[in-house]
Symmetry: C2
Subunit: 188 residues, 2 copies
């Protein structure tokens, strides 16, 4: 084993995304990524199991943090407060780097297999949040509905954030989408 390179993970991630955008995900080899990042393929595999993990490696962390946030929320929180708390945890993981999120999204949208994978990951996160809500005593259907509504809010907010020309941050974008959901359902 070579020595551990602390900055290599970030450099590899950036190199990978740029190559996925330039050449396409399928056409990019691990060797290309390692070369661009100035490391060996072996170093790549110390950070990522494969090419896809560069894109989806955060999903376990997202789930764990969402669940932890749900568990830590005050007993007085409404169901939708809880969902907002779970989304805050997501923001903590991905909200600080819009450029990365944007590139990642562009790579995923350009590839049907990656789009499917992203859909599955989001559905899984929604199921995890619904379980967390159930563990707090929220009824089965309400938990699913709230988690799915949160997922809808998140997707729309993410798009708004990714597209924003101004400095809108992800947390504000989520707040705005929640407000829009409220006005949609109130208008009816």
């Amino acid at each position: 084993m070579g020595r551990w390179e602390p900055g290599a993970g970030g450099r590899l991630r950036e190199a990978a995304l740029d190559l996925y955008l330039e050449r396409g995900f399928e056409q990019t080899m691990v060797a290309d990524i390692a070369e661009r990042a100035g490391v060996t393929a072996r170093t790549f595999f110390r950070h990522f199991a494969d090419k896809r993990e560069v894109l989806f490696g955060a999903s376990v962390e997202l789930e764990e943090r969402s669940l932890a946030a749900l568990e830590a929320a005050p007993a007085t929180a409404s169901t939708l407060d809880l969902v907002a708390t779970a989304l805050d945890a997501v923001v903590d993981v991905i909200g600080h780097d819009r450029e990365f999120a944007r590139k990642r999204h562009a790579v995923i949208m350009a590839n049907p297999d990656l789009r499917e994978r992203e859909l599955i990951k989001l559905a899984h996160l929604s199921a995890v949040v619904a379980d967390g809500l159930r563990r707090r005593g929220i009824g089965d259907a309400e938990a699913s509905l709230a988690a799915e509504a949160g997922s809808a809010v998140y997707r729309v907010a993410f798009q708004r954030w990714a597209d924003a020309a101004d400095g809108l941050d992800l947390r504000d974008a989520i707040r705005r989408s929640f407000a829009q959901l409220r006005s949609l359902t109130a208008a009816d």
Copy 2:
């Protein structure tokens, strides 16, 4: 080409679902389905392109009917009214046969590939509904959010309908989920 058998489609569909449940989707061959339905494999392929189409053949019809319903809705309809109208069109296609819907759902849940496919089909339907809303002049983010919220309502309603011991129909289940979404967002 042999003669057209009008009842064969329904018999094949039923035979296929029963076999998928008994043996698993992967383990069922087209020849088995045809045999159980008392027809030839050739007749199977006159009705379905493959084994999966027995399960997903309705998705184009669902999309077309949802869009047509959106186009036909009155100009005064609110965004959420429109989503409800699109869901009504879905109910028109699948709501009359709970036993089939239940079996189909059980088959899909038992198989990861089919679960993914179902997820993709539902996401596609949601995107189609969002497009239909945009064509009626609804803003981009509101259209996506409303369509996704409708998708959440539908999934929860479907589950409620499938699980119901009483004679709850799908339309009522959807109405109930809409009400639940409203009370969720109002409580916050």
